[in-house]
Symmetry: D3
Subunit: 236 residues, 6 copies
């Protein structure tokens, strides 16, 4: 904790003083451009990854960047989404998974949560991801399985987002766009789901995706070729 106290001091002396104007202006109100939904993982720092200033990203973080469908949870997720969309009028929602996610690892290895009953209960909201992996990707290697699960999981949360009234209403008016991202811890890169190609593609400054395209509904059932893996149909 001593380090944290030192950091607070350094922040106040260096960062705050330099940007005093920004901070004072922000104290009269926030006007974020996007709602960022990410994992609680300490290695995923949204405002660092996007080099955003305070005031730009409204942020919801929980273990596993899970968005329970509307009505499925009494936790803070629905309220945070509603507040961002209906009260703050953000124009974009980003669901951002990440490589090496502990929550997805736990989801794929249920035995690992035997002593973590609340985690186990929370992961029931990710049952769709679990079942997609079990039924549609039965033959993947453990490494591929982990990687594909992280991708599918992001797409499932985008589906779930669309059941929230605040989101559904604005999607219909084309006033909000949904984005599915994955942050690669190892390389610092972000891949975004492209509804056109049906796969996650690197987001590059010089070749940036057209955000307009992302206004289309993102659906998880076209991922067939994600990461080069085709879902294997079990006999009907």
């Amino acid at each position: 904790m001593r380090t944290l106290f030192a950091g607070l001091h350094q922040f106040h002396k260096e960062v705050y003083e330099k940007q005093r104007n920004l901070f004072e202006k922000l104290s009269s109100g926030q006007k974020p451009v996007a709602l960022f939904i990410g994992c609680s993982d300490s290695r995923v720092v949204p405002d660092l990854i996007m080099m955003t200033n305070p005031g730009e990203l409204f942020i919801l973080r929980n273990a596993g960047n899970i968005v329970p469908p509307f009505g499925a949870s009494t936790g803070g997720e629905a309220a945070t989404i509603e507040f961002a969309v209906s009260a703050l009028n953000v124009s974009d929602i980003i669901v951002c998974g990440h490589s090496q996610c502990g929550a997805i690892k736990a989801l794929l290895n249920p035995a690992s949560t035997e002593k973590l009953p609340m985690v186990r209960q929370w992961l029931l909201h990710a049952e769709t991801t679990r079942r997609i992996m079990e039924e549609n990707y039965p033959a993947l290697s453990p490494a591929d399985r982990y990687e594909v699960a992280i991708q599918e999981h992001v797409l499932v949360q985008l589906e779930n987002l669309q059941t929230h009234p605040a989101v559904a209403v604005k999607l219909q008016r084309n006033q909000i766009a949904l984005h599915g991202w994955i942050y690669q811890l190892e390389t610092g890169q972000v891949h975004a789901f492209s509804p056109n190609t049906g796969v996650f593609e690197p987001l590059m400054g010089d070749k940036s995706m057209d955000s307009a395209a992302l206004a289309q509904p993102v659906t998880s059932n076209v991922l067939n070729s994600a990461t080069g893996s085709t879902p294997q149909n079990p006999p009907a």
Copy 2:
């Protein structure tokens, strides 16, 4: 969104490249020192305020930095706390409120959430804060009322935290410490609740609070003199 894409690019080119060693090391696992529970507000950037590096803070963020008591919610809060405490063994939990918090404002003005049903439902988990303000501080000015509510709210969440088994077990062994903070948007300062004085005091680098003291249970019923306001007893 274009700004965000540019930021991603800049991060990858500048930040990631400079700290490639750190990022590569982190990709093998996280070992955060603290669980930070803060508001989704875009102006509250935990890793900036504390000048922490990726990998240092495990972060739970929702609208209003609310911690429902154990069993009271099926959302991600309990699982995120359990994962941080029981799986990652963080040694400190910080509940950090902030000035100008929209959730607390909504809590004090219920009429403002008439069109925000999920926010309204979520704020039921902050009923204790609401009722403390209504019954114990009936005569404050609106500004003082707002400020005191933000403080009391942090202390109530610390109470709620102690009902979570993962936390209770380690508190008893003195293996975890709870901290109540408030970040002042206007000044960039952080005030921490001191169980010794019963008030929130500025955290200064040169006069930092003894974290050992914070290992004591933090209880909200000694706040009588917080911000110079004394709770007024209504006739019994």
Copy 3:
């Protein structure tokens, strides 16, 4: 009730005797082709509308043909869907609304359910429909409002269906198709939502829709021109 007893007798004497072979064969097991989700309304008789024989339609009926999102209800809806899809392997799911639906009428006139607390609570699962009408169609006449609400409601349930793991898994494998229908009490006609045109179109024997096309995900945010009405954007 005397009429009902007479009907039972008539059924046994006339219908059962004529189709004894069918009934005896069915008693060894069912193999329905579709799950039909319709309203409890006495005027909507699925097996009559489609002229289906016993054994062809697995049927879920409740007030308002509502499909709560996955995890949002502890009622029979999720189990009935799971049983039809995962145990009986139906290849199609039809969500069928109908004109003059009392549940939709109640949804648009909340005051009418003041003495019907369970109906009121149940309609919270149709909040998305309610809010779409309130925000995206503020200027419709009552009659148009009723008609559009019935349509939007069907599309919202199709969205909700996709959050159920059993459905999501098979949608991804293209092993199930979702259909949005509306039965017109006045004319006996059925209109089906066409993802190609984005409107509900009459289902005609000679010009039947290509069911393959319906295997595409059906999304409610392209309905802009449904029934000739365009959602009016309120100022952002």
Copy 4:
């Protein structure tokens, strides 16, 4: 699905045209005589079994014809019952089980639902049936056990029905009657529970039960001799 489209066409051309008067009259409002609560099973077609016309039966169908007690579920069951009884004023409620019911089979064989988590959760509402079979009929053959369970299950649902305020209020005024039926897939016959004899008896046109008698409360604890089986008392 092609068959279904053809059926729609045939219905519209043949059935609707012949009964145009009935359909047009119904479009101005429904006045059903009974609420029928039956299984989603495709082989149980209420309006066929009773030879009823559109407009006569308000129908609730879910897997297993389960009626959770009042307050025990947030699904559509309570609302559908309330709407039928309090808004439409039906005078009779029929709970109709059937032979070869897959839900009851699953209830008696819990291992069969290991991959059907929602079905398993739903069947918790049938725990009373399960436990009656386990404790009061420990020595039945599998076939008898299946048959008796279907009967006991109907009676338990009648008990549960009486906890719904809308039903309880009218039962006390003798304005509603409850009926427990079982439809035999193999023979096309319906057996109704007789509170006088305590067993299910065939409903025959020429020897029809007195519906007045059925206005008495139906209780499941007098079934001792149902199907010739006596519950075996384990030592107290």
Copy 5:
């Protein structure tokens, strides 16, 4: 509290010493004969009213002696009932209301609970009682209304009790009997519901009710003449 401490002392010195044998015997296990479900009201002392010794009555007390139907609550009621019936094998369950009950008063005067949100929520489990009074006894004087409500409420809880599997199973085997009582604070008398006469009758030592008769199911829809009041049928 000083009085309470003195009482503890007196108990230990006088009562315990005199009955040391009983207390020591009880410390090896309890074998209560009945489960008593009563109100938390300080004036209702079960073991005093029945002059029972420690070890004779297993007691569940909450505000309003409410028994939510099976599955309707996650509170202690269902577990306490299950433990008494299935683990301790009590042979009788008494639901005991009382005159001047504050919970029933609150139920009949909803405005009085505006500042008591948890009481208000809890009373939703007594909705059947409330609605019976509203619909079936619209013309009673306030005093009669209060008295009849207390009676009807006891009968509704007996109905609810029968939905609990532990109870239903033993009722069917005639191994448990249910009793509906009302304790009159003013006179110290207990009235018990008689299924034979359909009214509450005084329980007298010399004219005691046959407990065997009470083994019959107690149903609330025969109360028509309770306290001389007949439910008034509103026009259907």
Copy 6:
């Protein structure tokens, strides 16, 4: 039951007649001094242990004297607490465990509740107690384990009590005091938790604890030396 009827008679003839004045006075309203939260166990008779008269103790009893945290249960506990504190203005709340408690025994031996599903579900609200025993007292003998669990359990409920708004508000104003007691079936003695010494001490008439001291918040994380046992820290 015959004994119970005789007791009723004896009560009315002897007890009521002697204290007619008290009973008649009480019938106009109750003014209890304390809320007593105890186990349903038949051997724990609050009004006998404290030698209190009718009207002195408002009593909540359930299996295991469990107080779920605020919001964690829809049962009667929260309402009963709210009514006692906010409507009746009790000045003290006693949570009283007892030796030989069957609920604690079941908590420590989960296998014993396999056939008691509702008990098992209810004990989830005592998960903190269970986990404290598992993690912090791994090496106790079964007898010590049982004894310490009963103590820790009382302290956990005191923590949970403080999350209830009605309690939290008055604790802050020093208008209510919380007490943790354990009744020893074997000796008839009561031990009370002393926040000063951190252990349970016998409550003696001549050496009674200062109730003022008990107004301090009672926290379970200072119990380290309770009953001479020190929690063993597992390696972090």
